[in-house]
């Protein structure tokens, strides 16, 4: 019953305006980036060509070349991540439809299924367009191209240091395409947790105006950037974009990212569990 209800809610959320708008905005950015790449790199010799995964929209490596779309993505992400499922529960409160489902499922089970559905919906919306770009790049650019947008040589010590700072760098060295898929899944996973966190917060605190639900994740992500202002270049980065984008060459600590995501996921479950004990009328 729990999984059936979750599946129903996922399919319902995926067809809502918020999820569709976020999906099409991301798809537009992905296709613009892909078309830009095709126009810029068509006819280039394979020796001069950059690695097809390093020119992805999600690639931090793009800041060495032309990162207009990547900047747009990083700037819109704190707003977009709330759109697919963040408002799901608040809308149902306002419409009063939650009472009907609660009477069939039970309060706690209903909210838990909603939390899972919010996570999966946001994960899907923030993964599928980027997976499509990986596929498009694989069929459009030479797979044996290996250039880096910094134009550093393979045996350059700066390049080796930069690669050593990638998350899962061992995977990148052995299978760069698999690394791109794993990195995209990690990005979608983090987005899913942000979306679910917003939904969980709305279950605990009743907010009259949905716009205020943008605030928690928006503030948190911007705080991570503010905390990094003025830090020395060799210091571990706290910025969300430098931690979640692929091929990020700045020093990072995976435990910090894992802890933040775990705390957000655990607090989301805790908030939903606590709110599940409340009287829904």
């Amino acid at each position: 019953m729990f999984f059936r209800s979750t599946l129903t809610q996922i399919s319902f959320l995926l067809r809502r305006k918020g999820a569709l708008a976020a999906f099409y905005i991301l798809l537009f950015m992905v296709l613009s980036n892909f078309i830009g790449n095709v126009l810029a790199f068509q006819g280039l010799d394979v020796i001069q060509m950059y690695h097809p995964m390093k020119i992805l929209l999600l690639s931090y490596n793009r800041i060495n070349y032309n990162a207009d779309m990547t900047i747009l993505l990083t700037q819109l992400f704190p707003i977009l991540v709330t759109c697919p499922a963040g408002f799901a529960l608040a809308k149902e409160y306002q419409l009063g439809t939650d009472v009907m489902i609660v009477s069939r499922l039970g309060q706690r089970r209903y909210r838990m299924s909603k939390l899972l559905a919010a996570f999966v919906t946001t994960f899907v919306v923030f993964t599928v367009p980027f997976m499509l770009e990986i596929f498009l790049n694989c069929i459009s650019f030479p797979l044996n191209a290996a250039g880096d947008l910094t134009n550093w040589g393979y045996y350059d010590s700066a390049y080796r240091t930069a690669v050593g700072n990638y998350y899962m760098w061992r995977l990148f060295v052995r299978a760069p395409y698999l690394y791109a898929v794993a990195g995209t899944l990690l990005f979608g996973f983090a987005a899913g947790i942000f979306g679910a966190f917003t939904m969980a917060l709305s279950s605990l605190i009743k907010i009259k105006y949905n716009a205020f639900l943008f605030l928690p994740v928006f503030a948190l992500l911007n705080l991570s950037v503010i905390l990094s202002v003025g830090n020395p270049a060799n210091m571990v980065s706290l910025r969300w974009d430098e931690n979640l984008l692929l091929f990020s060459e700045v020093p990072k600590n995976g435990w910090i990212l894992a802890t933040v995501l775990f705390v957000m996921a655990a607090s989301s479950v805790g908030m939903v569990w606590k709110s599940g004990g409340k009287d829904c009328l």
Binding site: G18, A40, I63, N66, A67, D68, T70, I71, L72, T74, Q75, L76, I79, T82, C83, F87, K91, Q94, L95, K208, Y209, N210, A211, F212, L213, F214, L215, F218, N222, V225, I226, V229, G230, D241
Partner: protein, 277 residues
């Protein structure tokens, strides 16, 4: 409600100003002129005007964070009357457009007070940390640094309210904040054209002139007043302070009039914008 709004206005203005000052006002030798402090508050890094690199655009967006918070908190100021008890409210105000203009005036006062608090708190914090001295260009720049962002914040907040009346508060904030973000990213278009246009296209800041967000970057402006022009030393000769002020004023006026039309024609009995029922 008025007390809550004032509290949020002071919080976002003063705390925003202090944090912007700590993060972005950094003189080299322990002393800073008023004009340089104001330029650094609006995107410049040290003596250099804002560039088009990813880090600079991100830091410019962060400088706008207090304004975004203002837009979020005050983006429901007019809209909330259309959510609950709208018929009760408007049965007492049969001349709805007059009510709208009165609310807009209050919102305008709020936006101006917010900008004064933001810049004031930033400068006071800078004066406490460094030796801040007042230069002639700085005083003139200060007037523009208050007027242009205040007008922009006002127009954006009003737009959030109006989109919210039609599509709900989340859409209101999402659309307006998204538009501002796109405008910031479009700064890079200028740079892209220069780099990849085989030098055939030499925009020299012409595109920035039509980007409303560019008017918030004081370091890109020129002026006919020599002392102000020398204080700013802009890289382009196409953006003028008076032009930006006129652009923001025209945008505000456009949004204000469009708002009057929307408010007058909005059907009160049709639906609650927030819930859709």
């Amino acid at each position: 409600m008025i007390r809550y709004r004032l509290r949020m206005l002071f919080l976002t203005g003063v705390l925003g100003g202090i944090s912007l000052s700590v993060l972005y006002i950094n003189p080299y030798g322990g002393e800073i002129s008023l004009s340089e402090a104001l330029l650094q508050l609006s995107g410049s890094r040290g003596d250099f005007p804002m560039g088009f690199a990813m880090t600079e655009m991100v830091s410019f967006s962060l400088r706008l964070l207090p304004a975004y918070l203002f837009e979020l908190f005050f983006g429901i100021m007019l809209y909330r009357h259309f959510c609950t008890a709208s018929i009760y409210i408007f049965s007492r105000y049969p001349k709805r457009v007059r009510w709208y203009f009165r609310e807009c005036l209050a919102l305008g006062g709020g936006a101006l007070l917010f900008q004064v608090l933001l810049v004031g708190a930033a400068l006071v914090t800078a004066a406490l940390r460094y030796r801040l001295y007042i230069d002639a260009g700085g005083l003139l720049l200060g007037l523009y640094a208050l007027a242009i962002p205040a007008l922009w914040t006002y127009g954006a907040t009003l737009a959030v309210n109006l989109v919210a009346v039609k599509a709900g508060s989340s859409a209101g904030f999402g659309v307006v904040a998204g538009f501002q973000t796109v405008c910031i990213v479009l700064f890079g278009l200028e740079d892209t054209l220069r780099r990849y246009g085989d030098m055939v296209i030499e925009p020299e800041g012409k595109l920035l002139r039509f980007n409303p967000m560019a008017s918030l970057v004081m370091g890109w402006h020129t002026s006919g007043i020599e002392v102000l022009d020398r204080a700013v030393h802009a890289p382009y000769r196409t953006m003028d302070f008076n032009h930006s002020l006129a652009l923001c004023l025209a945008l505000c006026l456009g949004i204000l009039l469009a708002g009057a039309w929307i408010i007058q024609r909005h059907e009160l009995l049709k639906a609650d914008s927030e819930t859709g029922v």
